[in-house]
Point group: C2
Chain length 165, copies 2
Amino acid sequence: MEFKYNKHLEDTMNQLEDKGVFLTVKNKENLNTMTIGWGFVGVMWNKPVFIAAVRYSRYTYEMLKNTDNFTVSIPLKGQMDKELIKCGTESGRDLDKFDKYNIETIKSEKVDTPIIKDCDLHYECKIIYRQTLEAELINNEDIENKYKNNDYHVMVYGEILSFHN
Amino acid sequence: MEFKYNKHLEDTMNQLEDKGVFLTVKNKENLNTMTIGWGFVGVMWNKPVFIAAVRYSRYTYEMLKNTDNFTVSIPLKGQMDKELIKCGTESGRDLDKFDKYNIETIKSEKVDTPIIKDCDLHYECKIIYRQTLEAELINNEDIENKYKNNDYHVMVYGEILSFHN
């Protein structure tokens, strides 16, 4: 069932901050997913947009550089809590997470990257803008402390082409 | 009544894209409000954040440069449709919109900028980051067309300190 992009937004945000959600990227033959806990949903340029925050060092960021789409898959019933922990701590550089953790995917409706089967909500996004956070623009100690290693976040803006369960 | 920041998010987004919401800024003695139709709500740096997109040329942007807070006030029942149109087209450089349109404000709970009385939902925000969109990062024709005048948006990130009706 297809929803308007802002349906269930309270659920999306609760899951994002509590246990995280899956950010999945396909780049030619490579497929990877990672757990993200920071992101935004809103409207920009008259388009519904999901902003995913991904650190430079991440394998997912390397993959995002060379593709134009991603998906965000959201489990709401605790059914993938273990996988969320694993996919947030291990890197797709070292292993195939789908294979190792038996994570099944399904073809998306609008983008090349698939969605994760056992999730409840899915955003299919086309990348329309990306911008790295800049050290010199941060004047909040709390935030500076999160970048002591200079591993800044890239804000990846994805136009939501489809949102469904 | 105080809510968690993500309560009523569907309403906020509907109003944002349909008719807009009020972005209010107080800077020393000056107070101004403008209608915005683009923005985001989400989580970043473990904080709930409202991102307001404001163009460089705007009086509101000038004011935001020299303050550390703003509020977003959201009418949900059509009761301020006229004021939203006026506050989106006229500039606070030329007139006092509160005075001219009889817009009443109330003191905020957590920030210096007041909220707009006749609205239904209110976000009180402390500015923690701001970054201007960059021309060379845009590779989407649709988006480029919105900046033919080089009047780029500044993304103003406000930590949501309070959200209430």
